[in-house]
C-alpha cells in the first residue's frame, strides 16, 4: 500500500529524518513510535506532501507521490489527522464533515447549487458513527478537545481514504476518551478495510491495536516488526522502552 524508500529530510544542517525505508501492507494497522524529536511528525509531513523530502521516494499503491502537493495526495486516497487538532473551528461540526465530502467528490467547482442540504444523509451517517450527531450544529471550535479530535477523524474519513495517517490520535485525551477512540479506530478500520499508520506516545494504545510497529530514533528506524518482536529488541529497550518500562 505505502512504500517509503531512503526518505531523508534535513533542515539546514540538521537531519530530522535520515534515510527511512518502510512498507505498510494493505489493511494493516501500523504504528511509528519513538521518543520526542525522533522525527515522527516530520516523517508524516513528508508522506502527506506537507514537506518535500531532501532525498528518497514515497510510493502509494505503486505510484510515486514524492513531492506532490497535499491536495493531490489527499485525492489519491490518503487521509491524515494532525498532532495538534486541526479542524475548521468557526464552521459547525456538520459543515466540517460536509466540506470534506464536497472536496472529495470534486463538487467544489459547483457555484450555483445550494450547499445547505448537500450530502446531508452521508454527513449525518458519518457523524452518527463517530457519536457526534447530537453536536452537528455546534461550532467545531467550541467542542471539547476529545470531540474536536473526533471531528478531525470525521473530516479525514469523509475523504473515503484507503490509508489514514494519524499523528497521535489520542494526544491530550482522558483515559476514557482514549479507550473509546481506540475502539472506534479499530472498528472503523475493520469496517472500511482501512490501512492505518499512526504515531503515538501512549504505549498502551500502541500495543493494543498495532499489528506492526516501527521504532524511530534520531530520524532512523532502529527496529520494525510485530509488537512482540519490537518489545524484545535489545536496541529498542535501550533507547526507548527502557526509559519507560
Amino acid at each position: 500500500m505505502l512504500e517509503l524508500s531512503g526518505l531523508r529530510k534535513s533542515f539546514g544542517g540538521f537531519g530530522a529524518v535520515n534515510g527511512v525505508s518502510l512498507s505498510v501492507e494493505r489493511g494493516r494497522i501500523a504504528a511509528v513510535i519513538g521518543p520526542n524529536g525522533a522525527g515522527k511528525s516530520t516523517l508524516f509531513n513528508l508522506i502527506t506532501g506537507h514537506l518535500k523530502p531532501t532525498e528518497g521516494r514515497v510510493v502509494l499503491r505503486g505510484e510515486d507521490i514524492t513531492g506532490a502537493p497535499p491536495h493531490r495526495i489527499c485525492r489519491m486516497g490518503m487521509g491524515r489527522s494532525f498532532q495538534r487538532t486541526n479542524i475548521f473551528p468557526l464552521l459547525t461540526v456538520f459543515e466540517n464533515v460536509q466540506a470534506a465530502l464536497i472536496a472529495h467528490r470534486g463538487h467544489g467547482r459547483n457555484f450555483w447549487a445550494r450547499s445547505a442540504r448537500l450530502y446531508r444523509e452521508e454527513t449525518e451517517e458519518l457523524l452518527a458513527s463517530l457519536g457526534l450527531l447530537d453536536k452537528a450544529d455546534v461550532k467545531a471550535g467550541e467542542l471539547s478537545h476529545g470531540n474536536q479530535k473526533q471531528v478531525e477523524l470525521g473530516i479525514a474519513l469523509a475523504g473515503d481514504p484507503d490509508i489514514l495517517l494519524l499523528d497521535e490520535p489520542t494526544a491530550g485525551m482522558s483515559a476514557t476518551e482514549t479507550r473509546e477512540t481506540i475502539a472506534l479506530l479499530k472498528r472503523i478500520a475493520e469496517m472500511r478495510g482501512l490501512t492505518l499508520l499512526f504515531t503515538e506516545h501512549d504505549m498502551e494504545v500502541v500495543f493494543s491495536i498495532a499489528e506492526r510497529i516501527a521504532v524511530l530514533h534520531q530520524g532512523r528506524i532502529i527496529a520494525e516488526g510485530t509488537p512482540e518482536a519490537v518489545q524484545r529488541d535489545p536496541e529498542v529497550r535501550r533507547v526507548y522502552l527502557g526509559e519507560r518500562h
Binding site: 486541526n86 460536509q98 467544489g108 467550541e142
Partner: protein
C-alpha cells in the same frame, strides 16, 4: 426560521420608491449607495468569505469603469453589452494579477494586490491617448433609456432617476448571483479556506486555485460596479483605481460587518449617509471617520450587522455568552 421577514425584498422595494420622492439629491445618494454596495460586497467575497485581505480592489473597479465608458463613448456600444464587457475585462485582469497574488499569503498577498492596483492607476494616469490621462474621460453618456417613456409611471422621470432604476435592477441581479455563489458548494469551500487554509489542502482542496477563482469572481463584480459608477459619475478618472479607492470598500465592509453577506451593503449605506450628513456640518470629515472607525474596531468588531445579529441572538436565547469573535479579524464567521 419559518416566518422569516423577506428583508431583501423589502429593502429593494423601499429603494424603488426613492425617485418618487422627487428629490434629485435623494436619488443621487441612493444611486451612490447601490453601486458602492456592490463594490463592497464583491470585496467581501475575498475578505469575509475567503479570508483574503486585498488592498487593490479598486483596480478592477477602475478597469470596469474605463472599459464600459470607452466602449459606450468611443465605439457607441449598447449599454448592457458595454457593462458586461466592463465586468469581463476586470475579471480577465483579476485572473492575470491573481495568478501571481495567490502564490503569496497574508501581508505579502495584500501588498502585491496593492502593487498591481498602482500599476493600473499609473497606466490610467499616463496613457493619454486612450484613458485621457490625468483629465480622465469626461462626458460618459447615459445609456439609451427612452424605452422607459413607454412604461407607465416611469415616463416623467429625469434621466438620473431612470438610471437609478436601471442600476438598482442590475445590482439586485448581481446580489442574487453573489448570494447564490456564497451559498453554493464552491462558497462552502471558500469558507473552509478562510477558516483553516492549511487544513483545507489535506481534504483535497487546491487552495490557490480556489483563491484565484474567488479573486476573479470578486474582480468581475467590482468591474460591474465600476462600470455603473462611471456612468453615474458622468466621467471616469484615474482616481477610480487609486489606492484610496481600494480603502473605501474595506471601510464599508468593516463598518457593516464582514461576517455577514449584507454587512458591506449596510456599511456602504452607513458610510455614504454619514459622509453626507457630517460634511454638511464640518469640513473635518476624515477626523470624524477616524473616530468612528476607532470606536467600531474596539467596541463593535462585528460591525453594524454583526452587532445587531449578536443582540438578536442574545435576546432569543438568554443564557450563555456570545460566541467569542476570532482573534484573527479576517476569519470571522459568516
Amino acid at each position: 426560521m419559518t416566518r422569516r421577514v423577506p428583508w431583501t425584498l423589502l429593502v429593494a422595494l423601499t429603494l424603488l420608491v426613492v425617485p418618487f420622492l422627487g428629490s434629485r439629491f435623494y436619488t443621487f445618494v441612493a444611486t451612490d449607495i447601490v453601486i458602492l454596495a456592490l463594490f463592497a460586497t464583491s470585496l467581501n467575497l475575498l475578505l469575509g468569505f475567503t479570508g483574503l485581505v486585498t488592498f487593490g480592489h479598486a483596480a478592477y473597479f477602475g478597469i470596469g469603469a474605463y472599459t464600459c465608458a470607452l466602449l459606450m463613448k468611443e465605439l457607441g456600444v449598447p449599454f448592457l453589452l458595454a457593462w458586461l464587457a466592463g465586468g469581463a475585462m476586470a475579471a480577465f485582469f483579476a485572473a492575470v494579477f491573481g495568478f501571481f497574488c495567490v502564490r503569496l499569503t497574508k501581508i505579502y498577498f495584500a501588498m502585491l494586490t496593492l502593487a498591481f492596483a498602482q500599476i493600473v492607476w499609473a497606466v490610467c494616469f499616463k496613457w493619454n491617448d486612450v484613458t485621457g490621462g490625468e483629465q480622465g474621460l469626461p462626458n460618459v453618456p447615459y445609456p439609451d433609456l427612452e424605452w422607459m417613456d413607454a412604461v407607465p409611471l416611469l415616463a416623467d422621470f429625469r434621466v438620473g432617476d431612470k438610471f437609478f432604476f436601471v442600476a438598482l435592477v442590475l445590482v439586485a441581479c448581481c446580489f442574487a448571483a453573489l448570494r447564490r455563489i456564497v451559498d453554493s458548494p464552491f462558497g462552502r469551500i471558500l469558507t473552509v479556506i478562510r477558516d483553516n487554509p492549511e487544513r483545507a489542502q489535506f481534504i483535497g482542496i487546491n487552495v490557490r486555485l480556489y483563491e484565484l477563482a474567488a479573486f476573479v469572481v470578486a474582480g468581475f463584480f467590482a468591474g460591474l460596479s465600476g462600470a455603473l459608477f462611471g456612468i453615474f459619475n458622468r466621467g471616469v478618472f484615474p482616481d477610480f483605481a487609486y489606492w484610496t479607492k481600494s480603502a473605501e470598500p474595506l471601510i464599508m465592509t468593516l463598518l457593516g460587518g464582514m461576517g455577514h453577506f449584507w454587512g458591506p451593503a449596510v456599511g456602504a449605506a452607513a458610510l455614504i449617509i454619514l459622509n453626507q450628513q457630517i460634511t454638511s456640518y464640518t469640513e473635518y470629515w476624515p477626523f470624524v471617520l477616524g473616530l468612528v472607525l476607532m470606536i467600531l474596531l474596539f467596541a463593535f468588531p462585528g460591525g453594524i450587522v454583526g452587532t445587531l445579529a449578536g443582540a438578536r441572538w442574545r435576546l432569543r436565547r438568554r443564557p450563555v455568552t456570545l460566541p467569542k469573535p476570532a482573534s484573527d479579524p479576517v476569519s470571522r464567521n459568516a
